[in-house]
């Protein structure tokens, strides 16, 4: 199997939707005037992730990227659509099967400190997956597994860290431990939801570096979720740009950033500040205005038309454009990309 690495599709997501019916308290539903609006967090998303690939999911807050991550993690079940892992349909899984799935797909969270029970020592944090998945072994055997995982994330010597509590570690170390925890089960894929956004800039690269090394060592596949295009370019192989629950552009990271086709991607790229001199007196050209609409109230037609500087009446009257391939695996969902 592993020989065809690079081409083999590890995860396939087909037209996945996740709609939330908000469960409101009395006061909230009254405040909403009795209307219950469906929140279309993820609204028909398809993509493939190949084995050994780092796939970036980019979007603003409210774009549904975190929901997508949870769907892949199977923390929530989709409203519609299908999901295949290693060719197997994993959309709906029985209890046991979902537990097996969890050994294959693991998650790293945004805030490493919050992702560990503050009352657990590092050893307990790392033993947790072994207990949950009933991986038998004496205390020494388990400690050996923990130590191996800690060495993998360059926390050496491991024994020194095992008896500590999370609050005794630095932010970078915590994220290493969080990564080690996922590695213990020998996963095939890691979902990383903004793994470095809470970490100080000075150590951010350290973590990304470590994650890359682990990926190479263990032949891992990443789904990297972020709002930060710069780290995405540094870290990922391919990028999908999400807007209001949909992918508007997808392709190789370099293609997307050097040659964006969708006006939203362009806006995102233009908005990113860069550490270069000579920009202080320039007011940036921002092609788009306003803020992202509520996922409970998605515009008809192309969902970006309300903010798009190039929008024509057809953008709102015609049905929503599907992703279109312009070659080289670069897909976009804009009807008028040639004109702009």
């Amino acid at each position: 199997m592993s020989e065809i690495k690079g081409d083999e599709i590890l995860l396939r997501v087909e037209k996945i939707k996740k709609h939330f019916m908000p469960h409101l308290t009395l006061a909230q539903s009254l405040a909403a005037g009795g209307k219950k609006r469906v929140v279309k967090a993820v609204d028909g998303i398809s993509f493939d992730i190949k084995r050994g690939e780092i796939f970036g999911l980019i979007g603003e807050s409210g774009s549904g990227k975190t929901t997508m991550g949870k769907l892949v993690m199977k923390l929530i079940t989709p409203t519609e659509g299908r999901m295949f892992f290693e060719g197997e349909d994993v959309t709906f899984l029985e209890k046991m099967a979902s537990k097996t799935y969890r050994t294959k797909v693991q998650m790293i969270f945004q805030d490493p400190y919050a992702s560990m029970n503050p009352r657990f020592k590092i050893r307990d944090v790392l033993t947790e997956p072994l207990i949950i998945h009933k991986i038998k072994g004496s205390r020494d055997e388990r400690d050996a597994m923990i130590a191996k995982a800690l060495i993998e994330v360059k926390m050496t010597p491991p024994a020194e860290y095992m008896a500590r509590y999370p609050h005794m570690l630095s932010g970078g170390q915590r994220q290493r431990v969080a990564t080690a925890r996922t590695l213990i089960l020998n996963p095939k894929m890691l979902v990383a939801d903004e793994p470095v956004s809470m970490i100080d800039l000075s150590t951010r690269a350290e973590i990304l570096h470590m994650m890359k090394e682990v990926q190479r060592d263990m032949n891992l596949t990443y789904l990297y979720i972020t709002h930060d295009l710069s780290t995405a370019r540094y870290f990922t192989d391919r990028i999908a740009v999400m807007y209001l629950g949909r992918i508007v552009e997808m392709g190789k990271a370099d293609d997307i950033i050097d040659n964006p086709l969708h006006p939203y991607t362009r806006a995102l790229i233009d908005a990113v500040p860069e550490p270069q001199t000579g920009k202080v007196d320039i007011v940036k050209e921002l092609p788009i205005s306003g803020e992202i609409p509520s996922p409970a109230n998605i515009p008809v037609g192309c969902r970006f038309h309300t903010r798009c500087p190039y929008a024509k009446p057809e953008c709102s009257s015609l049905p929503e454009p599907e992703l279109e391939d312009v070659g080289g695996g670069h897909l976009h969902a804009c009807r008028r990309y040639k004109e702009i």
Binding site: R204, A205, R233, L268, A271, P273, E274, T277, V280, L286
Partner: protein, 322 residues
């Protein structure tokens, strides 16, 4: 250019049960009229403390130990609270606090909060006041209906704009902006930055722009002040730190190398090992020495002074002093 704000040998410590946290430890700098000074550093390096200290309201249990803060030539530290409130804060210097979304009283409408502030400082009838407020709301790109809204009805970006409008409408000379875009998405961030630039040129403001994001600082700051562990590591013009000359202090240098670039693919970003020091008991010598990749023996024993290397570019590093 005249300096509108001058900080001299300021020390401000937080007195906790475990000891004094030396959050601002002997800092001096100037802010010239119409200039934006960027204040950068890792979390916990004293950036926000600097902001509130200049506003003359250090957060409890913080206390000024020594030093002076001249605003418009007037030392504000010994001034009575009442005078500061009447004639300094918001009159001459205003601040946009970190987490602006939490800076609006949830039970008052936007209009009421702004009106209240206005009435505290200006003799003005309601009609004039409302006109002024709606003028400023429009200036930050908000419709004047926002006045009748409660904070919870607005999005994060809108609240940020309200807070900026409130900081500006008394026409202060200096505005301190503490991470004004941190919680916002990139596009909204860019919108706010554009807005700030426009306002600055319209009203001839001076900004102190606090952030941890060096890339963002490059777009706004005329001069950059890099803080490390309660001290200034480097202070210099934008053109020289981001330009060809580059940073002088190893800390700034590393920070810049750690910032990922959008338009340039790099294979390896660098990082600074270790964590910022405990400010109750900072390391001897240069405070950065335990993490510095260019450390020398002298750095471990003697504290480097802040010296001018070239015009307007000062650094506190033994390597640069020779």
């Amino acid at each position: 250019m005249d300096s509108i704000l001058k900080v001299e040998n300021l020390k401000m410590f937080y007195h906790t049960s475990k000891g004094a946290v030396r959050a601002i430890d002997d800092i001096s700098f100037e802010l010239k009229a119409g200039e934006t000074l960027g204040l950068v550093g890792e979390s916990g390096c004293g950036k926000t403390s600097m902001g509130t200290s200049i506003l003359r309201m250090p957060t409890a249990p913080g206390r000024y130990e020594s030093g002076r803060i001249y605003i418009d030539g007037q030392d504000v530290i010994p001034m009575p609270e009442k005078d500061v409130r009447k004639s300094i804060r918001w009159e001459k210097i205003a601040m946009v606090f970190q987490g602006a979304m939490n800076c609006l009283t949830p039970v008052y409408t936007i209009g009421r909060q702004m009106l209240e502030t206005l009435h505290e400082h200006r003799e003005m009838d309601d009609k004039q006041a409302v006109e002024l407020i709606s003028e400023y709301l429009q200036l930050v790109g908000l419709p004047s209906e926002v006045m009748g809204r409660y904070p919870h009805e607005l999005s994060g970006g809108m609240k940020q704009r309200v807070v900026i409008a409130t900081a500006l409408f008394l026409k202060p000379k200096i505005v301190i902006l503490d991470e004004p875009t941190t919680a916002l998405d990139v596009i909204v961030q860019a919108q706010i930055i554009n807005l700030l630039k426009k306002l600055k040129s319209t009203f001839d403001l001076s900004f102190i722009f606090i952030t941890h994001d060096l890339a963002l600082e490059a777009e706004v700051a005329d001069r950059l002040c890099v803080m490390y562990a309660g001290k200034i590591a480097e202070i210099g013009p934008n053109s020289s730190i981001y330009g060809a000359r580059g940073a002088l202090h190893p800390y700034t240098e590393k920070l810049l190398q750690a910032t990922p670039l959008l338009h340039k693919k790099v294979d390896n970003l660098s990082f600074i090992p270790g964590t910022p020091p405990d400010l109750i008991d900072p390391p001897k010598g240069c405070r950065f020495n335990p993490r510095c990749h260019k450390v020398m023996d002298k750095c471990r024993t003697d504290e480097p002074p802040l010296i001018e290397i070239e015009a307007g570019h000062q650094v506190a590093c033994w390597r640069c002093t020779k």
